[in-house]
């Protein structure tokens, strides 16, 4: 356990995703904030910094790709994890070009996302040292 909690922002327009992930992750000791609208999430990102951002790609209004671009611009140290229901080579390539940490194809299990988050956390810790 680190003294400072790892902070996570989750953005998905499917409310159930946030509803399930938030309590599980909090139980694991993470600090979690969830959003279903990209505009609100973006607002929040400008207010404070998150260690990890998990975002869906296809959304109303500003889509996930735009959102993660903004996030990376605001804070390059933030690790971004992308969840998507439809992964193409093009979107995968674009995401990695933009410095996305990993890619999760829907549907996934809790264990899979925990694993990715843990890996991202490890990377952050290594960089901090």
């Amino acid at each position: 356990m680190t003294i400072e909690q790892t902070s996570i922002l989750i953005l998905d327009d499917e409310p159930i995703v946030s509803k399930r992930l938030k309590p599980s992750l909090e139980k694991k000791g993470y600090e979690v904030e969830t959003f279903t609208r990209s505009s609100e999430a973006l607002q929040r990102v400008t207010e404070r910094q998150f260690n990890i951002v998990i975002t869906d790609l296809k959304m109303e209004g500003m889509d996930g790709m735009q959102f993660l671009t903004e996030v990376k611009e605001l804070n390059p140290d933030t690790e971004v994890i992308v969840m998507t229901g439809f992964a193409t080579m093009a979107t995968a390539k674009e995401s990695y070009n933009k410095g996305v940490f990993d890619f999760l194809a829907k549907p996934f299990k809790l264990g899979e996302i925990f694993e990715v988050i843990a890996k991202a956390e490890k990377k952050i810790k290594r960089l901090e040292r």
Partner: protein, 484 residues
């Protein structure tokens, strides 16, 4: 140049050359006939003149003969002898001009009569005997009788000559009027049969071109002999086939493009509820022991709802594919519209949306699937309703368009469609509605059904003012296949 050109196996060019050549030949033949006839008539006239001269000489001879009998003057015998030699001369010059059998017979008779007369006269007058004999003597009677016969023969020859000339004129009249009239009528008939053949085929080509422009290609059947029009029809048919192929390719490439939207749509629409189910189940599995009843129930409800959502998508997909086939029947559009509006009027009232129906009377019937067409109008009205949201107006207007179509407009005063979405609205899974609210299949189902019915759909939208969807369905044309 072949005679058969009139009937078959020749190009229009060959036919035109043939007809023109025939005309020229005909004109030349006609001119030759007239020239020949006129020359003949002229000859006959000359002959007639000579016959007349001969006749008047014979009359002169008979006058001298009478004078001799009456013993009037001294020189009558000399004058008569002179007349005889002149008549002889005339006869000789006339001889080669007599052509007909009848003329020959009369001429020989005249010659014989003349010779007999001449012999009698010479015998009678030699040594001045004629001057001394009294009237009433045998010689007098003989010469008078023979003179009379000579005149009669001459009269008959002259009559025959006149008859010949009048016959010639009749022949000329015949060649001049009757023959050209016959030839002209036959020519006109032939020309029209040729022209009709050409015009008929051009007409069917014209019709085919028109229907090709309307998007319905049917190869023109080739009839008659191969000529320029046959070539034109062949080229047209080939063009039609190629156009269809190109269109097919275009549709195919559009399909490929929409398959992108389609599969990403399916993936997105199905994977999201699946993901929700997966996460919920996983949570339940991990923490079922530490959870309260309420929490477990909530998660199970979520799973149920998400399953329902996924199955609804599959149902819509089935509707979408079912839109490809249905039983066709002859229907009145107002029946379809009224029954459809009945289904939704309650829903519209709840949302304070006024429905205005402007359906024309006595519209022709259409051929289609009732349920499919109901779905078309239901989807469009539901779309209009969802676009409006709360309180507004939907106008359903139906009328005959362009004689062969029935146009139905569904007009809403909602927010309209933004320009950049216009191209995609008929693509499967394209939606502007929130996740879980629309599958993006509605309009593509509508599009598929309308297309299946041989119709088309148009959309006009002004941002902030509203949207009009116009459905064009072909009217039923008896047993002719108007669909597909």
């Amino acid at each position: 140049m072949k005679i058969s050109c009139f009937f078959s196996a020749c190009t229009i060019r060959q036919r035109l050359i043939f007809i023109n050549s025939m005309t020229i030949v005909f004109v030349f033949v006609l001119i030759s006939i007239y020239t020949f006839q006129l020359i003949t008539v002229e000859n006959n006239l000359v002959t007639m003149e000579r016959v007349d001269d001969l006749f008047s000489s014979i009359l002169g001879l008979r006058r001298y003969e009478k004078n001799i009998m009456l013993k009037l003057d001294e020189d009558n015998v000399a004058k008569a002898t002179q007349s005889i030699s002149i008549i002889e001369m005339y006869l000789n010059s006339l001889k080669p001009e007599i052509m007909t059998e009848e003329g020959n017979r009369l001429f020989i008779r005249l010659e014989k009569d003349f010779n007999r007369y001449e012999t009698t006269f010479n015998r009678w007058c030699s040594g001045g005997g004629c001057l001394e004999q009294l009237p009433g003597s045998a010689d007098f009677r003989l010469i008078r009788q023979q003179g009379q016969e000579l005149v009669e023969s001459a009269v008959e020859l002259a009559r025959l000559n006149r008859k010949t000339i009048s016959g010639r004129f009749k022949t000329i009249l015949f060649w001049l009027t009757f023959l050209p009239a016959i030839v002209f009528s036959v020519g006109v008939l032939l020309f029209f049969s040729q022209v009709k053949n050409i015009l008929d085929r051009l007409g069917s080509l014209k019709k085919a071109t028109k229907s090709l422009a309307a998007g319905k290609f049917k190869p023109v059947v080739i009839t008659g002999s191969p000529d320029e029009i046959t070539q034109l029809i062949l080229n047209f048919n080939q063009m039609g086939v190629e156009l269809e192929e190109k269109q097919e390719q275009l549709i195919q490439s559009k399909k490929m493009a929409s398959i992108g939207t389609f599969s990403s749509g399916i993936a997105h629409e199905i994977n999201n509820p699946l993901n929700n189910i997966s996460l919920s189940t996983d949570t339940l599995l991990e923490e079922i022991d530490t959870m309260g009843m309420e929490e477990r129930k909530e998660i199970l409800d979520d799973i149920m709802a998400q399953t329902e959502r996924a199955s609804k998508i599959v149902r819509n997909l089935l509707d979408f594919s079912r839109a490809q086939s249905a039983e066709m029947q002859v229907l009145y559009i107002d029946y379809i519209l009224h029954t459809t509006m009945d289904l939704i009027s309650n829903e519209l009232q709840i949302h304070q949306i006024e429905l205005v129906k402007k359906i024309a009377d006595r519209m022709p019937q259409i051929n289609g699937g009732l349920q499919q067409l109901q779905q078309v109008f239901l989807n469009l009205v539901i779309n209009a309703e969802q676009a409006i949201g709360e309180s507004g107006e939907i106008i359903v207007k139906s009328y005959v368009f362009d004689d062969n179509y029935i146009r139905t407009d569904i007009i809403d005063n909602g927010p309209g469609i933004i320009q950049e979405n216009m191209e995609q609205i008929f693509d499967p899974f394209f939606t502007t509605k929130e996740a879980g609210k629309g599958t993006g299949l509605g309009l593509s189902i509508v599009y598929g059904i309308v297309k299946k019915h041989g119709g088309y759909i148009e959309v006009a939208s002004v941002e902030g003012k509203g949207t009009t969807f116009s459905v064009y369905l072909p009217t039923y044309q008896g047993n002719k296949k108007g669909t597909n």
